[in-house]
């Protein structure tokens, strides 16, 4: 049973990557969009561009994972092809995990491209590679689970895009990408602590520039928590939708 689940999970992710993710418009959107935002901010507020790197990486990961993940399930449900997966010998959580894995792999791939560019321009310095890898991995999982929840919560593709943007854009401005969370008004700081992007940016900042290991550990824990909760919610909603 577990073997069937793992096999299906893997092939569902591979199929999604081939069929939906690795298409030129997705790749260019995934890489260019965060660059454009950060560049616009840097031009408006010139300073040390290095401080924007964690935000740039987190933003790339957020948009890379959720751009397709947020629509892929509702898209397949509309076309009827999700039914093929429901008929296969795979349990629903494994099916959903396959969808998540596709989003994660794509998000991590475009983020690695951005990371290579950034390191080539600014140098590696004192990067904590292990923490960097863990932060990227857990953030990708959390963002992908968020995308999956959006995708199962709606009935139409356009609703998924609207809802995803409704969540992503406020998160982008509150999550410490452009402005440190500590400089936000107290109420917004509380809101920021409810967003996975905040923890991703914070963990990436520690990984790239150093900082409190305890803080980074808490960030990783928070990202793991977001992943678990969002995945559980998505699985529940999907089960209700297909019942």
């Amino acid at each position: 049973m577990l073997r069937d689940d793992l096999r299906c999970l893997w092939y569902i992710a591979l199929k999604d990557l081939r069929a939906y993710y690795f298409k030129p418009p997705n790749i260019s959107w995934g890489i260019l969009f965060p660059f454009a935002f950060v560049l616009a901010f840097a031009i408006r507020n010139p300073g040390d561009l290095r401080t924007l790197i964690p935000g740039l990486l987190a933003l790339t990961l957020l948009f890379g994972t959720t751009s397709m993940e947020a629509i892929v399930i509702v898209f397949e449900r509309r076309l009827g092809s999700l039914e093929r997966l429901l008929l296969a010998p795979v349990r629903l959580p494994a099916l959903l995990a396959g969808k998540l894995l596709g989003g994660m792999v794509f998000g991590l791939t475009v983020t690695l491209v951005v990371l290579v560019i950034v390191l080539a321009v600014f140098g590696a310095g004192s990067v904590n590679w292990l923490l960097l890898a863990l932060a990227l991995l857990l953030a990708a999982a959390a963002f992908s689970a968020l995308g999956a929840l959006v995708s199962v919560a709606v009935k139409e593709v356009f609703e998924a895009q609207t809802l995803a943007n409704f969540i992503r854009f406020p998160m982008m401005f509150l999550g410490g990408v452009f402005v440190p969370v500590a400089s936000l008004p107290p109420v917004l700081q509380i809101v920021a602590r409810l967003l996975p992007l905040t923890y991703a940016v914070e963990a990436l900042r520690v990984a790239l520039f150093g900082g409190s290991p305890a803080l980074a550990a808490l960030d990783l824990l928070a990202l793991a928590g977001f992943t678990a909760v969002l995945f559980w919610l998505a699985a529940r909603v999907l089960a209700q939708r297909v019942a």
Binding site: K15, R84, L86, L87, P89, V90, R91, V242
Partner: protein
């Protein structure tokens, strides 16, 4: 011959608006499907055909009752059942972005077909279903008939002993539908048990060993085609067509339980006029269906809103 499907009291109800009674889609049906047969499930739109398939394949949970599929309990052994059944839904639902070959390979990946067997088996399926030239064409670029055939091929990719076919020829042109019927017959000859829903009466008559007629969620008849016809309202008729004295053509119809006597009587009645044809007209499956449902073949087609494979001649 063992039973591959045993259904007992299978029921599905859907909640409706507050204050209204629940909608009963399937109302406690019982039947068995025997190994190696084509079992037809016939009924008008909304009769409960697709809901029954959805329950038997794990896509919908029965409200009450149950079933055993391939000897396994539907409620307890669904994952093991899924490995042994192929399902071809009414809509051709493969992946537009994948090629014909890749769609089949993906179907095999899901069911754990060993890696070395996937491509040769996919190539063989494409050849068998006359899609070899389209192996590298994306599903989206195939004609409707080809999509339908490829969807059936995907349902067979893991070589299931039991295949569910939901309205397989709906929307197909006459030739595609005819080819598909030939393929279904060939599968039966190979020993695949087929659970077939269709609203084409001639198709059911041509392909099915036994037919269940479902109306408003209840099975109102279940028998072989011959058995259903034998129980049909109306009698066998003998029609004798002969040339009249002034060159015109006349037909005499005699309804009877004794065909031989009726033919003799009709011939005697013709006297010295030249007999052009003698036909025995037996009740058709349509007569049976009309008697059971109040709907005829035309009404069935109109309900479905399509013609396509409706002409089962050939």
């Amino acid at each position: 011959m063992s039973d591959v499907i045993q259904v007992a009291g299978l029921t599905k109800t859907y909640a409706t608006d507050k204050g209204r009674p629940p909608l009963v889609a399937v109302a406690g049906i019982d039947f068995v499907v025997r190994e190696g047969e084509v079992f037809g499930f016939l009924g008008p739109n909304g009769a409960g055909k697709t809901t029954t398939i959805r329950m038997l394949t794990g896509l919908a949970r029965p409200t009450s009752g149950g079933a055993r599929v391939m000897g396994l309990d539907l409620a307890a052994d669904l994952p093991r059942i899924k490995k042994q059944i192929g399902v071809v839904p009414e809509a051709s639902n493969l992946y537009d972005e994948l090629t014909a070959l890749d769609n089949l390979v993906f179907a095999m990946q899901l069911y754990g077909v060993p890696r070395v067997e996937r491509r040769p088996r996919a190539e063989a399926l494409l050849a068998r279903f006359r899609l070899g030239e389209k192996r590298d064409a994306p599903f989206a670029k195939l004609s409707r008939g080809m999509k339908r055939v490829l969807t059936i091929a995907a349902g067979l990719a893991h070589r299931p002993p039991l295949l569910f076919l939901d309205e397989p020829t709906t929307g197909l042109d006459v030739m595609s539908a005819r080819n598909l019927r030939g393929m279904i017959a060939a599968l039966r000859d190979e020993g695949v048990t087929i659970f077939l829903t269709t609203h084409y009466l001639e198709e059911a008559e041509r392909l099915c060993d036994r037919i269940a007629v479902i109306v408003k969620g209840r099975i109102v008849a279940l028998d072989t085609v011959a058995g259903l016809k034998a129980a049909a309202p109306g009698r066998t008729a003998v029609e004798v067509t002969y040339a009249g004295a002034d060159g015109d053509v006349a037909t005499r119809r005699i309804e009877t339980d004794d065909v031989a006597t009726a033919v003799q009587a009709a011939l005697a009645e013709a006297g010295d006029r030249r007999v052009l044809a003698v036909n025995t007209v037996r009740p058709t499956l349509e007569d049976v269906f009309v008697g059971l449902t109040g709907l005829g073949a035309e009404a069935m087609l109109a309900e479905k809103g399509g013609k396509g494979g409706g002409n089962a001649a050939g």
